[in-house]
Amino acid sequence: MQITLAHLKRGERAIITDVSSIHIPLKLLEMGCLPGNYVELVQLAPFQDPMYLNINGTHLAIRKETAIHVLIEKIDI
């Protein structure tokens, strides 16, 4: 199974490996959600949705339905 942003737990960090550009709004790419950039899960709202992320220094929130289209590789701290 491929690991996506939606699998990230609070406080965990990862590197973005691929984004499926059809499902991802351009705006998210502009915010730095691009392959090679790091991502950290800052906070989860109740029901694990939406997700409050730190992507490449930009803090933003996205819904889980978008997060599943961003592939990642977890890194240990």
Partner: protein, 699 residues
């Protein structure tokens, strides 16, 4: 005359662009709209060294030149249209030192349009806290620009920025990125077809769906080759453009910026742990709302009483001091009470705008969006709908415009449709006066009954908005892709100057906007109330004297009988009595009926209308509230404003769609009369039914 420099301020949201605008222009600014659309256009004048003047436009915040909303379209339309009178001689890109990387994306795009571009790095005072250091010379060289390190908060660096603007001609216009790197074949073809055009500009014309000069669009359409790219292909190229730009930016920042994380003190993390907490986040949000309503009530009661008294005396003084006649009466009985009915609410409205602007400026509003998204989605709304719903408590018009950043059309449409249920500041006057008449003054747990009633009415507005959203979500069959991206900005202490300017600006536009309608309506009402068609009106004095001849009435009592006879048979009285059967079951008399009808223009007209109707023919100096309390129910006797009729009236105003401006904005934003018509019929129908039930149960 010296030449004026056109300056465009551009930047991501939350970078302090507006603070920079305020710092440059001070009070020399005016807010208007772009022609034909409701996007706010802020412009101002700034005095530069050596007697040069700059005309500054504060463009809407945007993350890039890939526009996805009406507001963002404005930015591109201006930057691509050299013939626009506002076309900038120099662009100033405002960035935030903590998000430099992301902010530079927009900077490189604007630079590539070959417009001289100055980079402002704002919040420079926070660099030390964040362990950031910058090599400005290196950055200036790599980005081929001039950089102003600025702190709008501490008012530092503004003079340097002014110098840079004055000498904008020294700035290089070399692009950052060679556009053809994105896709060599595609762009080489484009260049061959349009050798005289800037290809990055052409690329934007191709990818952006905005209003360019017609010729540009036609020229490109004529060359079939460039239309053949499918949407998916274009998006892939856009993605490639973003990646290329970030590669460039990363390369520049690698040597130009160092961040020592150990130095960073993170206020954000500590605050977010509490403010976005699963339980505490919601508790705090609720407490904040509660505190706001209590404060609006407590802080504004003194200035309001003062204003009420001033207008009552002013009216009295006018009558005494001016020669008797129709004009004096119009002034004293029509215009002054009508205006008093609006001025009295300035304190409350100002406080409301104050709180809303603090919530937004501080960055807290985004946390609320985050907390509420999941819950709102259940009702067919987006977390972003919270902002319109909260700012709808000020006014539905800007609130409906604020829905533009909701990505999904269905969520946006539902938000637009239900926002008018939230208690806008125009309802406040009606609520306040009715509450003060029918709700007792006691306190429970330190909270006044009256303040609690007000809070309940606000909650009622939200609950109705949300439940109608739920129903609409089930009914409306709109297929849509939902996107949701919201930036979580840093927490900031709101700048006093920004907040003050917002409060003044919004209150002013509320008062003048509503003031015009109210003035017109109060003149009209006064005329209608002072003249009548039949003999009952003309011979009022004789009729009343004859009728009461047997009773020994004092002169004052007789005069008041004559006045009310006149009012009853005036034009307004006759109209009121014609509609009375429809509103009697709700507990209202014809005077309230007139006030309700006239407040379909705008709700806040209600109090002014009653003030005008009641003051016609009355000689005594009295406040609006006392006059209302003194009204007698024509059929049942006893006071007209009882608990039952008061509650019924409150509920009527809570639900009815009584605002022509809102309907007009809904039409503009949805591009159809269908939606505003639906709002008018359903909301007002609901209002009637609920008010009817309330009165019948409570009486």
């Amino acid at each position: 005359m010296s030449k004026q420099i056109n300056v465009a301020l551009i930047g991501n949201p939350n970078t302090g662009k507006t603070s920079a605008f305020n710092a440059l222009t001070g009070l020399n600014q005016k807010v208007g709209n772009y022609p034909g659309i409701t996007v706010e256009k802020k412009q101002g004048v700034c005095k530069l060294p050596r007697g040069v003047k700059a005309h500054i436009i504060d463009l809407p915040g945007t993350y890039s030149l890939n526009a996805s909303s009406l507001d963002e379209n404005v930015v591109i339309e201006l930057l691509l249209n050299k013939n626009d009178k506002d076309f900038p001689d120099v662009a100033v890109v405002v960035s935030d030192v903590e998000n430099l990387k992301r902010n530079l994306l927009l900077f490189t795009q604007i630079k590539d349009l070959e417009i001289p571009t100055i980079l402002v790095i704002n919040m420079a005072d926070r660099m030390r806290y964040k362990g950031i250091s910058l090599d400005i010379d290196y950055l200036e060289e790599r980005l081929q620009t001039k950089i102003a390190l600025v702190s709008t908060r501490k008012n530092e660096g503004i003079d340097h920025l002014k110098d840079l603007i004055t000498n904008y001609k020294d700035i290089s216009i070399t692009p950052c990125l060679d556009t053809s790197e994105i896709d060599k074949d595609y762009f080489d073809n484009l260049r061959k077809a349009f050798p005289n055009q800037l290809i990055y500009k052409l690329w934007l014309v191709i990818t952006q769906d905005v209003n360019f000069g017609k010729t540009d669009r036609k020229q490109i359409d004529a060359v079939a080759d460039f239309k053949t790219k499918s949407k998916g292909d274009l998006k892939r190229l856009q993605q490639k453009e973003i990646i290329k730009r970030y590669q460039f930016i990363n390369d520049v920042l690698k040597n130009g910026q160092t961040i020592d994380i150990s130095q960073a003190k993170d206020l954000r993390a500590r605050l977010d742990r509490v403010l976005t907490h699963k339980v505490w986040g919601y508790v705090i949000f609720f407490i904040i709302l509660l505190a706001i309503f209590q404060a609006i009530y407590d802080w504004s009661s003194v200035p309001m009483d003062f204003i009420d008294n001033v207008f009552a005396s002013l009216s009295e003084w006018t009558k005494d001091a001016m020669p008797k006649g129709a004009f004096t009466n119009l002034l004293a009985e029509g215009i002054i009470p009508g205006l008093g009915g609006i001025v009295i609410f300035i304190p409350q409205i100002a406080f409301l705008f104050l709180f809303i602007s603090v919530l937004e400026e501080s960055g807290y509003m985004s946390r609320v969006v985050f907390l509420m998204d999941r819950i709102m989605r259940r009702f067919g709304l987006s977390g972003k709908s919270v902002v319109p719903l909260i700012s709808g408590t000020a006014c539905a018009i800007p609130a409906i415009m604020a829905t533009r950043n909701i990505e999904s059309w269905k969520e946006r449409l539902i938000t637009i449709l239900v926002t008018p249920f939230t208690t806008c500041s125009a309802r406040l006057p009606v609520y306040l006066i009715i509450i003060s008449l029918v709700i007792p003054e006691g306190r429970i747990f330190g909270l006044g009954y009256q303040a609690l009633t007000l809070m309940l009415l606000y909650l009622l507005g939200f609950v109705t908005a949300i439940s109608s959203a739920y129903i609409l979500n089930k009914i409306l069959k709109i297929k849509n892709k939902t996107f949701f991206v919201v930036e979580m900005p840093n927490y900031k202490l709101p700048l006093l100057k920004n907040v003050a300017l917002t409060v003044v600006e919004k209150t002013k536009s509320f008062v003048f906007g509503a003031g015009k309608i109210i003035l017109a309506i109060s003149i009209l009402l006064w005329v209608l109330a002072s003249y009548g068609p039949g003999s009952e009106f003309k011979n009022a004095e004789t009729i009343v004297k004859k009728e009461y001849a047997s009773q020994n009435l004092s002169e004052a009592e007789l005069q008041s009988k004559i006045a009310s006879q006149k009012l009853e048979y005036s034009f307004i009285g006759l109209t009121g009595r014609a509609i009375e059967p429809a509103i009697r079951p709700l507990g209202y008399d014809w005077k309230i009926g007139i006030a309700i009808v006239s407040s379909f223009a705008a709700r806040e007209v209600f109090v002014g209308t009653l003030a005008t109707i009641y003051s016609v023919g009355s000689d005594e100096e009295e406040t609006i509230k006392n006059r209302m309390a003194g009204e007698v129910n024509p059929i049942l006797g006893g006071p007209l404003f009882t608990f039952a009729s008061g509650v019924s009236l409150l509920l009527f105003y809570a639900f009815a769609m009584q605002c022509m401006s809102t309907l007009a904005v809904v039409k503009r934003e949805t591009n159809s009369w269908k939606w505003p018509a639906l709002q008018l019929i359903i909301m007002s129908g609901l209002a009637y039914v609920v008010a009817l039930l309330a009165f019948q149960f409570l009486k």
